[in-house]
Assembly symmetry: C2
Homo-oligomer: 213 residues x 2
């Protein structure tokens, strides 16, 4: 059995997981406050943080476990909109993107793929969630597929009932505005078993596992 998984999805108390706009200077928009306690050094394993192995770091480290491909929205790849400019943009991450697998970028403007020495590739597809998932599953083989965000992309996959497991991190802040994870998803929790874990840090972790059909 392979899964479609979401990890480290940080959400404010009012349900926002990103700002409303993304610019080169503000990659996650006004939602940067969500990431104050996030230690991304451990996404490839807890041994990568020169810091205590806390619950927050332990759960963050699930991100890469057994994942063979990612699907992301265009805004996670870059701030551009419309047809791609000839600007040499290769993503926010320089020549060492953390993914180390094929990554499918959802866009209405397909373009040739990009390859990186560490195993990451970006493939640009104009596809529905189900079509993109089929491509990513083929690339992942016997491994799982991660839906990498942003919130609009996760919301679309939730609406299409394509998410098997989701790790949310509820951050005790109120953003007031932004991109909602939940818009149009009333009662989505009925399709899941939800485990809630309070962290000593003040964060709340939730593990959503889809109920058997």
């Amino acid at each position: 059995m392979t899964r479609t998984r979401v990890h480290n999805m940080m959400v404010s108390l009012d349900g926002y997981a990103a700002g409303t706009t993304v610019t080169l200077e503000e990659p996650i928009g006004a939602a940067r406050a969500l990431f104050g306690q996030f230690d991304g050094r451990v996404i490839h394993g807890v041994q990568h943080a020169d810091a205590p192995i806390t619950l927050d770091r332990a759960l963050t480290s699930l991100w890469g476990q057994g994942v063979g491909a990612e699907i992301m929205g265009r805004r996670k790849f870059g701030p551009q909109t419309g047809p791609w400019p000839e600007d040499g943009w290769r993503g926010w991450w320089g020549e060492e993107p953390p993914f180390r697998t094929p990554v499918y970028v959802l866009t209405h403007h397909p373009r040739p793929p990009m390859e990186f020495a560490n195993g990451t590739s970006f493939r640009f597809v104009d596809a529905s969630p189900a079509e993109a998932l089929a491509l990513a599953q083929e690339a992942a083989g016997r491994l799982d597929v991660r839906i990498g965000g942003g919130p609009t992309t996760v919301r679309q996959f939730l609406a299409a009932d394509l998410i098997d497991m989701m790790h949310l991190i509820i951050v005790p802040i109120v953003l007031g505005e932004g991109t909602s994870l939940w818009e149009g998803l009333g009662n989505v929790q009925d399709r899941f078993e939800v485990e809630t874990i309070a962290s000593p840090s003040g964060l709340t972790h939730q593990l959503w596992n889809r109920l058997p059909a």
Copy 2:
């Protein structure tokens, strides 16, 4: 920085982590009740369980992350005592031991090493905790060393102040007798920062991280 880590150490409410004796029929002695809720399928990653990714499974999956060698007591390797009989014993795990790294077995009766196709090797050493750790660290290179138990071995490494991180799972049962994890370790908690996490399953997880010297 590399660490010396303990994972998935299951302890009863009265502090026992194994039975008093180990036999071929009872590998963990009378302490088998400790393991009722333990899903060992996920030790190499949460993707390996055809079951919900719960807090318990998520934390169990830290076991193999970034670990390059293990040290274990002789009783974890087999039920024999004294000089090794010529019985063809190659450990409890058949030809697929889960370790996939060098494993140093502490014994007063050294013998030639055993190699397995999946990367596991057992090397039998008559050494102090510090000496065994030096050997394991050299084998692990830039990765961490796991102290694999049983409780007597973990207790010796705690007494020698050689543990950097320890994941305990407190199981809500009273064993009444067994091998104590804590004997002779009064106030050991003063050397650690301890995070306690209640699991919806009824288990309690603790993450012990050694305080800076």
